[in-house]
């Protein structure tokens, strides 16, 4: 029985990191109707920037978090200007392939700045994990879960209680009507991109801290997990992103326990394929050209 509980805890921890990534993805997809394949690599850029700062100057956790988030925002702005702004009225595929081209840039830049295959990253809390009876819970898990919930609440407050939120939802709902209502749509795109990149940066920081390491694979990993969680939760829906992330985390934790790591990913992909093929309603409501 305690294995089930332990797996569920681990699943929630993993799932909350996916949820944060999926939130960033969904914000961009919701507003721009575009897939940003450079979302993960921008997060990796942030983590590498923080690692570089830590290696050269040594820095406290808060400063590292800030550097990660700022790095991700900077990288996100670069991607938005080069891949998404020029293709606003144009084709979604061109924007996506352009973002893939920049992914190549980020990966090579990372391997130039920090060539080693693996760099360690300071953990959030050095001490031993908390123990309740047979179950152990690492501080990182608690912080990750708390961060995910906090970010959801913050996003909900921004979207439903601020003027910027009205603008974002208007642009998501009907971009031309938003223009006519006097909303500066290009600015909303940029600010939303920055917000999404910040969320990604936070996720990247927490992921790097909980794994206590940074590798070049972080870019691909976070793009894939964010994309899958977004798909699982329903394309373009913010609550869906969180649910999708948690569901993916729980699914992976449990299937890893019963079937081993490689089968874990196999099962996750199989589930996504079956759900898509069955055209389950919550996953295929929003049209995605």
């Amino acid at each position: 029985m305690s294995d089930l509980a332990q797996n569920t805890l681990d699943g929630l921890f993993l799932g909350s990191s996916y949820a944060l990534l999926a939130l960033g993805f969904t914000l961009i997809f919701g507003v721009l109707r575009r897939v940003n394949l450079s979302f993960g690599p921008a997060v990796m850029f942030g983590c590498y920037a923080a690692t570089w700062v830590n290696l050269n100057f040594g820095a406290g956790l808060v400063l590292l978090a800030l550097v990660t988030i700022l790095g991700s925002i900077l990288a996100g702005a670069y991607v938005e200007r080069l891949c998404f702004a020029p293709h606003r009225g144009g084709s979604a595929i061109a924007a996506m392939v352009a973002s893939f081209a920049l992914w190549m840039q980020f990966e090579e830049l990372a391997s130039i700045v920090l060539p080693r295959h693996l760099y360690d990253f300071p953990p959030l809390h050095g001490g031993a994990p908390l123990a309740f009876g047979a179950m152990t819970l690492r501080i990182e898990s608690l912080v990750m879960l708390f961060a995910a919930l906090l970010m959801c609440a913050l996003l909900w407050w921004i979207l439903y209680r601020t003027r910027f939120g009205v603008a974002v939802r208007a642009v998501i709902d009907q971009p031309q009507a938003a223009q006519l209502a006097g909303i500066n749509v290009p600015r909303v795109f940029m600010l939303t991109f920055a917000l999404a990149s910040a969320i990604g940066g936070l996720a990247g920081f927490l992921i790097a801290a909980s794994h206590e390491q940074v590798t070049p694979m972080l870019g691909m990993w976070s793009t894939m997990k964010g994309l899958l969680a977004m798909m699982l939760g329903g394309l373009g829906s913010l609550p869906g992103a969180v649910l999708g992330g948690l569901a993916l985390g729980l699914l992976e934790a449990h299937s890893q326990w019963f079937f081993g790591p490689q089968n874990r990913d196999l099962i996750a992909y199989a589930l996504i394929f079956i759900l898509l093929a069955a055209r389950v309603p919550w996953m295929t409501t929003r049209s995605a050209s």
């Binding site: 391997s111 130039i112 060539p115 080693r116 295959h117 070049p216």
Partner: protein
């Protein structure tokens, strides 16, 4: 081109000609300059050292080998029989698939996986 087309038609019948495949192992150490390694290659065939072969050494990354690769270099024969030396300039560290193309007495190709780090290279365990 005509020979290639002829070959296409001729060899439709199944045949099991499995010539003796050569073997190789690699010893590389870092040279101090970024990502450049000095490698000695020991070639053998049927247990005997393989001498007098022209060996070109290249390397691919496992993901996207056609694009992520390094320009091959010609290895020079070293003093010991069946030993060749080459300087390998990789673009980044990590696991590389080292590709040895042999010409001369035997024409073949071998691919060995090694993990390259700041010190040298060790066979990659995957």
């Amino acid at each position: 081109m005509a020979k290639a087309a002829l070959l296409l038609i001729l060899s439709v019948l199944p045949g099991l000609a499995l010539a003796q495949a050569p073997k190789a192992d690699l010893a590389c150490k870092a040279t101090g300059t970024d990502f450049v390694f000095d490698c000695t290659i020991r070639l053998s065939r049927g247990g005997k050292p393989l001498e007098g072969a022209q060996v070109t050494v290249g390397a691919d990354m496992p993901s996207m080998p056609m694009a992520h690769n390094v320009k091959p270099v010609k290895a020079q024969a070293a003093h010991a029989p069946g030993e060749y030396r080459a300087k390998l300039d990789l673009e980044m560290l990590g696991v590389w698939a080292v590709k040895l193309r042999l010409a001369g007495p035997v024409r073949d190709q071998l691919i060995l996986h090694y993990e390259f780090d700041s010190k040298g290279a060790t066979p990659a365990k995957r």
